[in-house]
């Protein structure tokens, strides 16, 4: 098997602050094959965006980064250190959550696309603008000739996100990182955008990382999904496996906590109690343990290593859900009425699970 296109190894990102060091990303590793789509799912503060920004060299200078990021045999972090031109934007690129703010409000859409082309590909202004118009057509924008000379505020949210995508794709990147690309748009538009990304990826054989908090989005679109919690990947596997046979209690709980459209009204949800931990000087324990229905005393003593089948289904848990070990732990906690951290544990109220 050839080397994966993207290989992230033990990526750790810390931000020194006056209150202490924020451990934003903590030993994250994953691979991505060319043409694949990887979903990274997590709540705010889980480190998914920081991971993406690390890949894109977008972190503030104060960030302390460790670990390796290899892309097509190139060391991305070295490229950052060298201040390499024509790497980001050409090799890999990114689109952001809010199409409203992702476009420079004072520049015409066409110009914003064209400047990338001009800079990376050295085209003339008119050539670049022609290419921009073409790109706008490719991303399904009606009347691209007109849009080229429009300002972002003259476009609707959906069109704007398409412009952003066109801009990102201007130089035929091999990897596109989409950071919550549809969070700020309505569901009907979301569908269009995701379809567009899908088709573009297929057309171009491009790889993609889709960062989202929406499990549904990840489930519908990704080949693999990684779930992040408190700066770590807690579970990673092929999409179907993850949603059908999750191992990490957090993944499990997350799936149970969201309301589902196929459930009747007033179905009681199983919320995850508590809130995510602080990332400043976290204790050496499973970060999820205080909220975990499965947590046992050993969860409070060490950070679980990734286990499972490497590259196929990995999870970092001492007492994985949907295993005997996990079921024992849960039963013990239900019996005791509390988990190892003292959080009350009762039987599930609702009908969650898949």
């Amino acid at each position: 098997m050839a080397d994966p296109q993207l290989s992230v190894r033990d990526l750790t990102v810390r931000f020194p602050t006056t209150r202490g060091t924020v451990q934003a990303v903590n030993g994250v590793s994953f691979e991505l094959e060319q043409g694949q789509m990887l979903g990274i799912v997590g709540e705010s503060g889980s480190g998914k965006s920081v991971t993406a920004k690390t890949l894109m060299n977008l972190l503030p200078r104060t960030a302390e980064i460790e670990g390796s990021v290899m892309f097509d045999g190139q060391d991305v972090r070295q490229a950052a250190a060298d201040g390499r031109d024509h790497f980001w934007g050409v090799e890999m690129t990114m689109v952001f959550q809010d199409p409203m703010t992702s476009l420079n409000p004072v520049k015409k859409c066409g110009e914003q696309i064209a400047e990338t082309i001009r800079y990376h590909l050295g085209q003339s202004k008119s050539e670049a603008l022609a290419m921009a118009e073409d790109l706008l057509g490719q991303v399904g924008i009606p009347e691209p000739g007109k849009r080229v000379s429009q300002y972002p505020h003259e476009l609707s949210g959906g069109l704007r996100q398409r412009v952003v995508i066109a801009m990102a794709l201007a130089c035929q990147p091999k990897l596109l990182i989409a950071d919550e690309p549809t969070t700020a748009v309505d569901v009907t538009v979301q569908r269009h955008i995701l379809n567009l990304l899908d088709s573009l990826r297929e057309e171009r054989g491009m790889s993609m990382i889709l960062i989202t908090h929406d499990l549904g989005v990840a489930r519908g679109r990704c080949d693999d999904v990684a779930v992040m919690y408190a700066g770590r990947i807690v579970e990673r596997s092929a999409t179907e496996t993850l949603f059908g046979d999750s191992r990490h209690p957090y993944t499990d709980a997350l799936l149970r906590s969201i309301p589902r459209i196929d459930q009747p009204s007033h179905t009681r949800l199983d919320p995850i109690p508590g809130r995510p931990p602080e990332l400043i000087n976290p204790p050496v324990q499973c970060a999820y343990a205080p909220r975990c229905r499965y947590a046992q005393p050993d969860c409070l003593k060490s950070i679980p290593e990734a286990q499972g089948v490497e590259g196929m289904h990995e999870f970092a848990c001492h007492h994985p859900a949907n295993t005997d070990q996990g079921r024992e732990a849960l039963a013990a906690n239900v019996a005791a009425g509390r988990n190892a951290s003292g959080m009350p544990v009762a039987g599930y109220a609702g009908t969650g699970g898949f």
Partner: protein, 334 residues
């Protein structure tokens, strides 16, 4: 769509709030106005949860704010237990407001950052004193406990709490006035998924415990369905479909409702995924289309849809109303 008409209104003593032909406009300069809400009628039973769902710009929040007169109402009536809210002004309006409380979208912004949360929660009591007679000061702690905030943190300020906790505080503030009705304007959309469930459950708990009537607004179809008894689907200032939550999701009649249900990442099993392929963009609310407002994007649109506005009609035998010239007669079903 754009259903007008009073068909969905129920003649029933349980009705707590009736809205008829509500119209709201916002000036945007040069004499132009945004037609935010253009003639919508519905009612809410006491103890019922009414969900309003729709995409951004459909006017759902405007409807909510109009009820408690945070907007000016251009036309229509809002009848709350005999009080014509649309016509009330000044002191009379102020006196009725405690009955109708509101939970806001942004939990952080809805709390005054300079005040202790105990003061925030007891603000209603401070305003009304004994006038409303309920929730005396010493029961604030009880209220805090009820929403899941440890009273010992009463002296902290909002920034020391997470979004979910702030939303709990907001709920406590509303509850302190012992309202009849709570208007929840996207109360969970700013929250993380794991916290969202906590707040939704809390709302259900509070509704049960205090006998509240809820008006629940969200763009998230799953969330709306989870909490609602009855749901209104709105599009461009109009209602297109109203009905019992389960019935409406199971047998959506309006093409727009179907499109919504098909567009969510994990489409409802009751619709054909291709229903989500609606064309084009949301028209401008400044110059909404004539006839059915959905006509610019509807795959079923015929001539009549461009000339005649569909009226609300009932699905026989069901608490289910829709406004469409070409309703989907047969649901795809599971």
């Amino acid at each position: 769509m754009a259903g007008s008409g009073h068909a969905p209104l129920r003649d029933d003593p349980n009705v707590l709030l009736t809205i008829q032909d509500l119209e709201v406009e916002f000036p945007v300069g040069k004499g132009a106005v945004v037609h935010a809400v253009s003639g919508i009628s519905f009612d809410v039973f006491e103890g019922e949860t009414l969900g309003i769902v729709g995409e951004s710009g459909c006017g759902k929040s405007t409807v909510a704010k109009s009820i408690i007169r945070l907007n000016d109402i251009k036309a229509g009536s809002v009848d709350y237990q005999g009080h014509k809210l649309a016509d009330l002004e000044g002191e009379a309006l102020r006196r009725i407001r405690p009955d109708l409380q509101m939970i806001f979208q942004d939990p952080i912004s809805s709390l005054n950052p300079r005040r202790k949360i105990r003061d925030v929660i007891s603000e209603g009591l401070a305003v009304w004193g004994d006038d409303r007679g309920s929730w005396p000061q010493d029961r604030i702690e009880e209220l805090m406990t009820a929403v899941g905030i440890d009273p010992k943190y009463g002296d902290r300020r909002p920034h020391q709490f997470s979004g979910g906790q702030c939303q709990r505080i907001g709920i406590a503030r509303a509850l302190a006035l012992d309202p009849k009705m709570m208007i929840c304007d996207e109360p969970v959309s700013a929250l993380d998924v794991s916290v969202q469930a906590q707040v939704l459950n809390l709302l259900e708990d509070m509704k049960e415990r205090y006998g509240l009537t809820l008006l629940f607004i969200s763009h998230d179809l799953s969330v709306v369905k989870n909490v609602s008894d009855r749901i209104i689907v709105m599009y461009l200032g109009k209602a297109c479909e109203i009905g019992n939550a389960d019935e409406l999701y199971e047998h959506p009649r309006h093409p727009y409702t179907r499109a919504l249900l098909a567009s969510i990442p994990e489409p409802a099993p009751t619709v054909d995924p291709s229903d989500g392929d609606i064309e084009g963009e949301l028209p401008s609310p400044i110059t909404p289309p004539a006839g059915c407002r959905f006509n610019t994007r509807c795959g079923h649109a015929s001539d009549i849809c461009f000339t005649e506005e569909p009226q609300m009609q009932r699905v026989p035998g069901e608490d289910h109303y829709f406004a469409c010239h070409h309703p989907v007669e047969v649901s795809v079903g599971v």
